[in-house]
Amino acid sequence: MAAIALEQIAKTYPNGHIAVKGVTLEVRDGEFMVLVGPSGCGKSTLLRLIAGLETPESGRIRLNDDDVTLLGPQQRDLAMVFQSYALYPHMTVRDNLAYGLRVRRTDSGAIAARISAVAEALELETLLDRRPSQLSGGQRQRVALGRAMVREPKAFLFDEPLSNLDPSLRAQARAELLRLHRRLQTTIVYVTHDQEEAMTLADRVAVMRAGSIEQVGPPLEVYSRPANTFVARFIGSPPMNLLTVPPDGLSDPRDAIIGVRPHDVRLGKGEPFRASVDLVEPRGHDAVVHLSLYDAKPSALLAVVSAPKAPLPDTEVRVGFRPDSMHFFDPASGARVNP
């Protein structure tokens, strides 16, 4: 159980790449914090800094009230689940689970008890005597999780742990992670590039770009009130439409960039603007409609409409935006201007 505090953390790699630029972030005790951003945004580096696998150039890292900035990973009592799982291939599942406890000189009775508890929770009992090479991807992922849980660490660090699973397993593993967090109530810092994963898992998300945090908040808040154009386009799928030059008639006293989520674009006879339909992507219960909006820049506009209402390609439609759904951003800085 631990709160993690990062204060003005900066990290430059020896090759000159600035991975993290002065990040300050507070992860509360028991919180599920997801760091999300495109590849190369510094989220994995930030996780490695928390783990102690990298040392920051400046800034401080605190676990509860202890300054751990200069401590090695051995002294921090955190557990990490790697993207590749990093199971010890020459050891059985049982020994993989026991390794951390043996290193910490736990007595063998306690080790056996904890292993059987974790194995039961993750349904690993029948796999305990196998080696990692004899396991499927999903089983390896559970062993990696078990190896982290068995030590009862202060916090879990996850580095894209689901990205090597196929989609159906991923959804299942995601639900299991949520259940696990609800049961253990342990602090989790979770890195992913998948905004959907971030939205579904997080108590709070931290959206990162180019080594900085752009916005921190509960997923719904980040979705409904993105702090800038980057967050607006990164969170939510398909991404938000951003119009630098809106069509005439759209009230825009502030000369701002207008953002509208595809779900908030309405198609219908009575709507004010004209657009042509380029493409329709049916998705089952709804469809993504690619539109060309007349007299606007950029003209490309995405709309999500329920499947029966989808127009035909190469037709002309009328388009409107729900008035309370519009986001305004400063054209120079990209920052949000409406409250």
Partner: protein, 265 residues
């Protein structure tokens, strides 16, 4: 494709086969019209090798020298190579380049200084007097090979061990080295072979037949007026046997993919 393979394998194996056949042919028949298939097997050369020449002595010498060199080289080179592959420190590239440069020195250029050094230390014609010079060329080779091997070792495994509470040295001992066994085994074999085949140092730093290694002993078979080809070839066959055994024993450790299952699904 199969025909090409057969030709290549045949070309590689034919000299060995020829050597084997010749070593079982009597001296008198050796220079007659040779036949590809042995007609009569004679143990004459082998008898001469072990009865009159006492060939077991050089075999033992070679085993001791090559064996001890390998035993010293592998642990030291493994530690050096791990540091060079993983630890960030100043002048790493320069150090690696130097290691490589040392192994590039022509052996003949250091024979004289080594001879004087060994004489001062009183190590001429002794086993340490060969093992020490052998370290000069086998260590850089081993360090170079193992550095490449450790560089490709999945870093997350050590990191996982360190998060599990293991010190870097413990992670090296319990996670990296057991998994590096294939790399260590192939490096050990190469080191052993280099030492087994080494000729110049062995010729220069041994003084009598009681310390000759196999290559030196075979080279000195030739008399003033004749070369006993049959015995030379029989000696070569005997010298090949330990190498073949070594490779067969370690072969099982040189299976790629021991790290399979560590990472990725």
């Amino acid at each position: 494709m199969i025909a090409v393979r057969a030709v290549i394998v045949g070309a590689l194996l034919f000299p060995l086969y020829w050597m084997l056949v010749a070593s079982f042919t009597t001296e008198a028949r050796l220079f007659e019209a040779p036949s590809l298939v042995p007609t009569a097997i004679s143990l004459e050369h082998y008898r001469a090798l072990f009865d009159t020449r006492d060939f077991l002595v050089p075999v033992r010498n070679s085993l001791v020298v090559a064996g001890f060199t390998t035993i010293f080289v592998i642990p030291i080179a493994a530690l050096c190579a791990y540091a060079l592959a993983r630890m960030p420190f100043r002048g790493k590239r320069l150090l690696l380049a130097l290691v490589l440069a040392v192994s590039m020195f022509p052996q003949i250029s250091i024979v004289a200084p080594l001879y004087l050094g060994l004489r001062t230390l009183g190590l001429l014609n002794t086993y340490p007097g060969l093992v020490l010079p052998y370290l000069t060329f086998s260590m850089p080779l081993a360090i170079w090979l193992l550095t490449g091997f450790f560089r490709h070792f999945p870093r997350e495994l050590e990191e996982a061990a360190m998060l599990d509470g293991a010190s870097r040295f413990r992670a090296l001992r319990e996670i990296v080295l057991p998994l590096a066994a294939p790399g260590l085994a192939s490096t050990a074999i190469l080191t052993f072979l280099y030492c087994w085949n080494e000729f110049l140092f062995a010729l220069s730093f041994t003084l009598g037949p009681e310390r000759y290694t196999v290559p030196v002993a075979i080279a000195l078979f030739r008399g003033r007026y004749q070369v006993p080809w049959g015995e030379v070839l029989a000696g070569a066959i005997v010298a090949t046997i330990p190498v073949v055994i070594l490779v067969l024993v370690f072969q099982r450790h040189i299976v790629a993919g021991l790290t399979a299952g560590a990472t990725k699904g």
